[in-house]
Amino acid sequence: MKRILYSIPVLFLALFGVACTDKCTETRTFRRFTPVTLTLAQVRQGIGSEAPRTLQKPGKIYTKDGFLFINELKEGIHVIDNRNPNAPQMVSFIRIPGNGDMAVRNNILYADSYMDLVAFDISDATNIRPVNRVNNIFPNGQFEGGYWYINQATGDVQDQRVDYVTERIQTNCQDNVGPTGGWWGGVVFFDTRGLMNAAPSTSGGGGQQQSTNGTAGSMARFALYNNYLYTVNSTEMQLFDIRNPADPKVGNKIQMGWGIETIFPYKDKLFIGSQTGMFIYDNKNPEKPERLSVFQHARVCDPVVVHEDKAYVTLRSGNTCQGFTNQLDVVDISNLLSPKLIKSYPMRNPHGLGIDFPNLFICEGAYGLKSFDARDALNIDKNLREHIKDIDAYDVIPLDKSLLMIGRDGFYQYDYSNPKQLRLMSKIPVKRPNAIS
C-alpha cells in the first residue's frame, strides 16, 4: 500500500513532464499574389471559341434559356447545356483573357476582357464568335482580391496571379498569433480591396426587362434593364446602350464613391453593394439612375438581394473587405428613402446569397451553404433548414426549385423542393492543379 502511495507523485511528475503540453493548431488558407504583365495584343488577340474544358478556377455563373455560363476566372466562359439539370453537358469554352463578368440579352453575351467590353453572338453555342468590342472602357478592376490596371507608361495590363495556400501553425491556445513570416514571404502586393470574385454575374431584375435577359447571382457587376447594360467597377457605374444588342454604345458614367462591388436590379430600382453600405438607385429613367438613399454599415463586403420590401445583405470580413463583421442584415426598404435595419444575424463568412421567398440561401464560403426560411424576418436564425458543410460556396441562383451554386469545389445543382433537405442533382467538379488541401 505504501509503495503505491509513494509512487503516485513520481508517476504524475513524469506525466507532467512528458504529456502535459497543450497542442493547438491553427489551419488557415489564404491568397498569395504574384504580379503578372500582359500586353494589349495578348489580351485582344486571345479571344476565341474552343472545345469544352474542365473547370479550374470558377468565378461567376449566369443562366439563360437552359444554358449555363460559368466564368473561368480571367480565362473565359464555359458554356454548358443545362436543359437537363441532372446531367449538364459541357458545350464549348469561350476564351476571353481578363474575364470576370457577363450578361446575356437575346443571343448576345456581354463579357468584360480587362479594359474592354466584348459582345459575342451565342446563337450557335458550339460556334460562338465576337461581334463587337468597346475598347478601353474599364480603367481597372479586380479578381480574387487582386487589382489590375493599365500601366499608362507602357500600355500593358498589370495584373496579379492568385494562388491559394494552406498552412498550419502552432498557437498558444489563447491569442491570435501574428504571421509566421512565411505567409507574406516573397509575396508582392498591390492594394487589394477586392473580394473573391468567385460568384456569378448579374441581371436578375425586373421592371420592363425583356424576357430574353438571363439571370445572375448576387455578386454580379453586370446587370441588364430596359435598353441598358449596367456595369460597376470599384468607383463608378458605366452604362451601355444596347438598343441594338449586337452593337453596345457607351452610355452615361455615374460616379458612385469608393468600394463598389455588386449590382442587383429589382423592379425599377438598382441595389448596389459597396464596402461601406447598400446604395439604392431609382432607375425610372434607365439612362440616368439617381441615388435615393444609402444604408450604411461597417467596412466589409456586402452583396445584396431583394424581395418585396426587404433587402438581404450579407457582410463579411476576411479579405480586402477588412473589418470583423460577418453577418446577415435584413433591411426594411418599404421607404426607399430611408432604409432601416430590421435585424442582424451572425454568420461565419457569408458571400453570395439568393432568395426565392420564403427560401433564403446563403453561401458561407469555405464553411458551406445554408438554407433558411425567411418568412419571419425577426427569427431567421431560428429557421435554419439545412447547413451543408462539406462544400465551398460562393454564390447561388435559386431558379424554379433548382438551386445553382458555384464554389471553389465546382458547380452544384440542388433540387430545393424540400428546403429542409436539398437534393444534389448534379455536380461539375473543379480539376485544379493547386487546389486547397
Binding site: 503505491i4 503516485i8 502535459c20 493548431t25 489551419t27 488558407t29 502552432q170 489563447q174 476576411g318 460577418n326
Partner: protein
Amino acid sequence: MKGVKLLLYLCVLWPLSASQAQSVASKWPFFHHSEVGGLFGRVVSGNNLNEVVENRTNLSVQTLNGVRLSKRVAVGGLVGLDWYTGALLTPVGVGARYQFTRPSDQNLSAFVSADAGYGFSWFDKSSTGYIVRGGLMLNPGVGIRLGKPGRGGFTVTFSYKRQEAQVEKPLRWGEIKRDETRIYNRLSIRVGVSL
C-alpha cells in the same frame, strides 16, 4: 438554456433523487465526489525559428454523483467547469471510482478514477469573431482518500486530463478559412470530499 437545465439536473435534482433512491434501494448506496483544483501544463507556440513556451495554470471544479455498485466500485454522472485561458468549458460525462485497498477501518486508502465525457462551451464568452466549440474529455487518474469507509472523507486526486476543443476565428486580410484545433493536455490536481 438547455445546458443550464442539464447542469441543474446533474448538480441538484439527480443527486437528490439518487439520495432518495438510496433509502429505498440500499443495495446501491448513493455516492458523491466533489472536487476543486488546478489544471497544470504548458504550451509551445510559434515556429522553429521563434518558439515560445509558456506555462498554464487553470481552475477546475467537478462533481460526480452516482451509486456504489460494490464496496470498491462507484459509478456516476459528472459535471464540471474548466476555466482554460482561452475557453470556459463544461465537461459532462460519466465517471467511475475503484478503491485499491480493501475497505477497512484504516483512515487512508487509494483509488483510481476514470472520467470521460464531452466538454461543452455553453458558458464560454469569446471575443468578437471567435466561437469556441467543445470536444471530448478524458480524465484518468489516481488518488488518496482520508477518512473511514462508509463515512465522509477528503480526497486528493492526481489525474491526466485531455480536453479537445475547436475554435472558429475571424478571417483577416486575404484569408478564406481559419480554424483552430485545441487539445489541452493537463496534469490535474484536485482536492475534494466524497461520501
